[in-house]
Symmetry: C2
Subunit: 901 residues, 2 copies
């Protein structure tokens, strides 16, 4: 088994084995770019080490061989007193885990080679500084000595020497510091700091292996959903020094602007410095233009190399480089991260430049990125004062007035203000206040905090964990680190996409992408032009390659029209219960509470023409496209007053001795509410159960659909309604509904002389429906997965309760990788979807299959829906372009089901 | 294809094809018993007829051939003017559907053959009476003429003749009546009554086929869960007449007493009568002793035949016979229905007589029958006055005082009385009153009415549809048909097993079978002896053949001890939340509502020793047997006051201006209750979710179990606890619980020096747990299916809500064949159980598998649990003997999964 690869042996396809960094170092070496000699120890070696507690047999000698080759190419020898080879030992996993694992630099220095280094570089100070850095880094990382022990010793030397900063220390000071450090090592470990550079190397490699399993690395992986068993590769590389004078330096660069996507190189340069110094931020970085001025040859070489890399990788690359004594060295490259806007722009630019195809461009962008582009943002270039920076927890841009309690937020909202709820952290008690607010801002917690989870669930802008803010609800104050003091009612602007919070009102700009889809602007309009153009090109290309259709969930003609503009090819879910709100609520209330036929029939008769109107509007707005109309699935509690509130009102009236029509009405209503009140309304008298129980209700709706269709047909329109029955658990519930519907449609067809072809199908939103899909398919022309309810019943979670109570806690602990209400739980809920598709098709090979739960618009879930072969996804109109894009992407990728825990 | 079988051609194994009656007529013919000649048309012919709307090709000629053979054996010819053959045409399906389908007698009479019949029998009156009966029966059944048309004509003739009863009519009267009847036929159908006996026969056969699909037959099949597509056979048989004088007659008989199981023949005899007369109940029947006196040779022959049949069928047989002119004819036999007690007695008697084996005896009894024997009954032979008879809706015997409203029942119960809720029918509003009552009595509705479904769910005695009662709640009266008048507070006795309701108090006798298992009596004690003996023999035999173990659900040492007496080999579910009720409630309340660590830890510290005591008692009571202890799964609302009631109390106190400690406490409690109140508590903060949320709660319980176990081990006892985690949806919830438990158990083991082997497993009670069982099995030593909750989530039903609201309605409509809370829904919930077993075993081949939902004690569900390979079922102590018996029966039958819709 080969555990060690020289940089000359690998390539970029070997990232699983060599890690991302190692594979790209090998690729650059292969391209003939100036990479310092070195080698990579594989992830397989790491896996074996972590499993068995020791290096796999054979790894040691392979390291020896690779080391010899490195020495030979570098023309240096490890531990040599003349030309010592110094090595960096860095982690490099398959997926980037920035800052999570360990690095040891300057391996190879000891009492002998430090002399050689001093002689060679002509700088004793440099040599001893490098030596003390080795002991410090090695001591902390390899030997586990608390960092502050070294820091205290450094401070003590500085105090003795009267030095303000490190660079004020002399070679002698540093030499003394090396002695102090070695004392600390003996004190803490009982052993001398190892003089043998081979021992240093071995221990450093082990320390990198071990660092895979630190707590912070584990937590990071859980959050980023990186598998636990991958392990890290270890890159052992000849040290190059950017801190050896004015003809040295270090930098990072991008082949295009990763923020905007603008073409042309872009980067930071710091002369006479090491990479660490850039990270430490001691000095301000310069630009690549400065490099061009200072070292024109190096700059020219760098630009050539960057051109080579971009052509080779055919994508934006970022690089790290060091210049040592006028010589350029490449230390890292990779395909660079970028903003959503940059992703779309770069992808289409590269197509324009002939570097990639449209298919490839489509794979370079994600639905998640498109979502980001569809939120409003703050006007670019507008005046703004940063108040604080936190974690971007729920995207969007919102402006409002500070409220410190849920009650205050509710009161301000009632008063017509737009409250921003500002709290240290939120709890389930704050829920009503969160609903009333335009944004949420907390000083504690991250993306999985209660505030973040609930805000995302509601689509409300949120910034969490803005730790610079000191929030004092009792005093009604919030104070920033910079000293700003704000009180309740003060205006703030919250950017949930970037995590920034600004003082006062920053002008909000609607998404140009949304305005484009809404037909308000065209690609030709102004500066938004090229991003709109890029989105347009890629969404249209997605349309040309995708297998699945995209429909929208829309209950009104207005929503339907918007859905059309967004590119929906039909409606996948029109909820008729929403048609019963407003002024019609009294009719449905009467219907639900009716105890006699006359009352019920009168209510139904009054509803029929209204319902015909509703359906007609929808079908007109979607003329020529399918419209799935779900028969009423009333959440009774939404139609009726709260039992406790009503009981309290009645009790208070009684205590006050009040009488009269209102009190009597309240008392009657309370009795009725108590009659229909349920312990678990989610699992009670809903959907088809209610339809079977209330005579004539479903029938009225079916008649309305049939009559609207017949009338439109007679006008030469092309209505395509589909009737959907909610909450079916057994085919025996569906059969009578189907029988009644078929009879009513036949009756309307006979009376109007129109030929009515109206498919009838069912929601699959209960586990039992999925499990018995082969039976249900006998009575259903199509299935539509209601993944919201299916998630609730499969998990035994009520979303109303658990999102506020413990989904956040579960995400924090890594019990959930993502909320199953945001992204489809593939193993549980997805398994039921898979089973239902399979069994449904076994009965009716051509059964229609779609999804209308919120997951229909979730990019991470769409791949699964494609893989199980759904005909369409249906989502909110706003998400339709996202679904179109993502459906195209998955069609290119082929079957690839995302994994969840 | 052979559609017609002569009685000489079939046998009893052919019931699918010939129906039950036809197969047994053939069997008796084969045995050489005196069966009138005839033939059977198969169910396959019926199926074809019903499918195609006409007889299958070839059936007609086969009927002709069979008819010729019958004529030949009977030495008569159809329509003959001298010795006319008369035929009966009767339905005979695979499963008995008494009274559901049609029969036509006396086929073959017409204006010619009636003369022959008169001459042959010497009775013109008999001949014309037979003729008019044919037209009447044929007219109604075959021609669909309303029965009252013929009854009015009969009444008119009787009036003209001054006759009181039919037998007063003369031959001339009857001849006139035949003319009247034929007029009615022409009037109603436009055609003459068919004179051609072949036409009569064909039309009668079709009428029987058609009668498979009458509404009442459909409803009956739905209720009895008989498949719709079986169809009926038709038996065409030579008529024999029991009404031809004193040496004729008709009777039914049993080879043993079907009520008690006592050996010796038992039957009814009616001289000079047809079977119809017995049914009509015009004359009182006599006994077989009377037959012996009147016709000793016939009686002797009958006894010989009955002996033959019992030896041949090796079981209790019932028979129908007719004697015509001193000659005995067998018209039907079948294995007879019997009471539960008779089933057990007869089965063991037949073993004693060497007719059957113990295995066969075990197959002759059912768990459902054993359940019946375990309810209390009214003292046999005690004085009683029947008030009414209704449908036995929920078994048991209960005595109490009449309450006409739910409120009254609640008030009486609060007053220490035992109310019997008497209503026309119940609605969900009556639920609280039903809970407060010892029995429920309604005048409307059947086994699937709301009252019946809810009563069975609660285990409360109920009689429904006692139509003889006129209930007037407004007047506070109930009146029986016999004229008895009762008022609220009057005493009644309700027998839910028989459907009888008695005036006043009838002494209740506890079940002797239960007393036997409880060790209160032995088989040697008195008259209960032989039933106890029979149950004992068969349950023990079941023990010797069954594969599955039987455990009990028991929360207390008392329950555990009872479970042991009932034969439980361990506890499958000990609910620790029930240990937190009573005086400890305050501790758990404090724990749930705690907002600071100190309060919570104090509550936990106080609970630990109590919990150690609870566990110790349980383990002691089940020494040597496994005890599955479920970590707390608190239904929060059971521990806390009702939100609405509390809010009303606070509001009233505020309105009255009350202040003080109580009001303050109420206000605080209300705030806390509102904090934890949930929209759908079934799907909220429960089970492992709460365990992960409340630090130390599960840990305290695990510690209690470990400490109790260590202490018992040190005393030389054999404790076998198993720890069960509730409501797990993902292995990621189980893993941290397991890690904590392992650490605590190791700690206790180390501190006590005891070796603690405590398996840790999980409930499978959410669809997701079943679907991801292969993952969950990584952290679970065993699964226990919580089929109650699994049914709720799979169907999206909350039992609290739907049993009262619509399960009854669904049963009435046939949407449900049985409540999924009574008998496992094999297709939905069972599918998840099957999937979980399969996937769980794929990860851990030896994973323990059991069920602890109420279905564990349901006879109809146990076969399924055996088929999927569970190791044990766990049920209430009372059901343990039933589960033992049923587990033995299914072991004999092998894999046989019951079907549900």
């Amino acid at each position: 088994m080969k555990y060690v690869y020289d940089f000359t042996e690998g390539d970029r396809t070997m990232a699983d084995l060599l890690g991302g960094k190692g594979a790209n170092l090998a690729e650059m070496t292969r391209l003939g770019l100036p990479v310092p000699p070195g080698f990579t120890i594989t992830t397989v070696a790491c896996q074996a080490y972590l499993r068995d507690g020791r290096e796999p047999a054979g790894m040691g000698p392979q390291v020896g061989t690779a080391l010899a080759a490195t020495e030979s190419r570098a023309r240096r020898r490890l531990g040599d007193a003349d030309r010592p080879l110094l090595l960096s030992v860095r982690s490099g996993a398959r997926y980037s885990m920035p800052g999570m694992m360990e690095t040891v630099l300057n391996i190879g220095l000891n009492d002998a080679s430090v002399v050689g280094l001093a002689a060679e570089t002509g700088s004793e100070r440099f040599a001893w500084d490098s030596y003390r850095r080795l002991i410090q880094m090695f001591g902390r990382t390899v030997l586990g000595i608390p960092a502050e022990r070294f820091e205290h010793a450094l401070d003590a030397v500085k105090a003795r020497a009267g030095a303000q900063v490190d660079v004020d220390l002399t070679a002698a000071d540093l030499r003394g510091l090396v002695d102090d450090y070695r004392g600390i090592v003996i004190d803490q470990t009982g052993h001398e700091f190892p003089m043998d550079p081979y021992v240093q190397l071995d221990l450093a490699i082990r320390a990198v292996f071990d660092s895979w399993n630190t707590d912070r690395a584990r937590i990071y992986r859980r959050q980023e959903r990186i598998a636990e068993d991958l392990g890290t590769a270890v890159n052992v590389c000849t040290m190059v020094f950017g801190n050896r004078g004015e003809d040295s330096g270090t930098g990072v660069a991008f082949t295009r602007d990763p923020a905007t996507g603008a073409p042309g190189v872009y980067g930071d340069w710091l002369p006479n410095a090491q990479g660490e110094d850039v990270v430490a931020g001691i000095r301000n970085t310069q630009t690549l233009a400065d490099l061009q001025e200072q070292l024109p040859a190096v700059h020219a070489e760098l630009l050539t190399i960057m051109g080579t890399l971009e052509s080779h990788y055919r994508d934006l690359c970022d690089i790290e480089f060091t210049v040592e004594g006028g010589r350029l060295w490449m230390l890292q490259t990779r395909v660079g991260k970028r903003t959503a806007a940059a992703a779309f722009r770069i992808a289409t630019q590269l197509v324009g430049e002939g570097l990639i195809t449209l298919d490839e461009a489509l794979e370079r962008v994600t639905g998640q990125q498109l979502i980001q582009l569809m939120f409003p943002t703050f006007q670019p270039g507008s005046q703004r004062t940063l108040l604080a920076r936190g974690i971007p927890a729920s995207p969007g841009a919102a402006v409002g007035v500070i409220a410190f309690t849920a009650a205050e937020a509710i009161a301000r909202a009632a008063n017509g203000e737009r409250p921003v709820l500002v709290r240290r952290e939120t709890t389930p008690d704050d829920l009503a206040g969160m609903v009333a607010s335009v944004a949420i801002l907390t000083s504690r917690g991250g993306k999985t905090s209660h505030a973040a989870v609930v805000a995302r669930g509601m689509g409300t802008t949120a910034v969490c964990g803005a730790e610079e803010l000191e929030i004092d609800p009792a005093a009604g104050e919030v104070r920033s680190r910079s000293g700003a003091l704000l009180r309740a009612g003060d205006m703030v602007s919250v950017d949930g996409t970037t995590g920034e919070v600004f003082l006062g009102e920053v002008p909000v700009m609607p998404s140009s992408v949304v305005r484009y889809f809404d037909g308000e602007i065209t690609p030709a309009d102004g500066e938004a032009g090229d991003i709109v153009d890029a989105v347009d090109i890629l969404v249209r290309h997605a349309d040309s390659v995708r297998r699945m259709a995209v429909r929208a969930n829309a209950d009104t003609a207005e929503d339907a029209a918007r859905a059309r503009r967004m590119g929906a090819a039909g409606i996948g879910l029109a909820r008729t219960e929403h048609m019963f709100l407003g002024s019609r609520r009294v009719l449905i209330e009467r219907l639900i509470l009716a105890t006699d036929d006359a009352t019920r029939e009168a209510a139904l008769a009054a509803l029929l023409p209204l319902q015909v109107g509703d359906v007609t509007e929808l079908l007109e707005a979607m003329d020529g496209y399918p419209v799935v109309i779900r028969l009423i699935d009333p959440p009774l509690h939404e139609f009726l007053p709260d039992r406790t509130e009503l009981a309290v009102r009645v009790a208070r009236a009684e205590e006050r001795g009040l009488t009269g029509a209102q009190v009597d009405a309240d008392r009657l209503l309370l009795a009725a509410v108590e009659r229909v009140s349920e312990h678990n309304p989610m699992m009670g008298m809903r959907g088809v159960r209610l339809g079977l129980q209330v005579p004539g209700l479903f029938g009225m709706q079916v008649r309305a659909i049939a009559e609207a269709t017949a009338a439109l047909l007679s006008q030469g329109r092309r209505p395509h309604p589909e009737i959907m029955v909610p909450l079916v658990a057994t085919v025996a519930e569906l059969e009578p509904v189907r029988r009644e519907a078929v009879a009513i449609i036949a009756d309307v067809a006979a009376r109007t002389g129109m030929s009515l072809q109206i498919p009838l199908g069912t929601m699959i939103e209960l586990p039992r429906a999925a499990l018995t899909a082969q039976r249900i398919a006998r009575a259903a022309d199509f299935f539509s997965f209601g993944t919201n309810d299916l998630t609730q019943t499969t998990w035994g979670f009520s979303r109303d309760d658990v999102e506020a109570e413990f989904v956040g806690d579960y995400l924090e602990r890594g019990i959930l990788g993502t909320s199953p209400f945001e992204t489809l739980d593939v193993h549980g809920v997805g398994e039921l979807v898979r089973i239902a598709c399979e069994r449904g098709r076994s009965t009716r090979a051509d059964i229609g299959l779609g999804v209308c739960g919120e997951h229909g618009g979730d990019p991470a879930s769409i791949a699964f829906f494609d893989a199980v072969g759904l005909d369409y996804v249906s989502c909110s109109p706003f998400r339709v372009p996202v679904a179109r894009l993502e459906a195209g992407r998955v069609a290119l990728r082929g079957v690839a089901v995302s994994e969840s825990r």
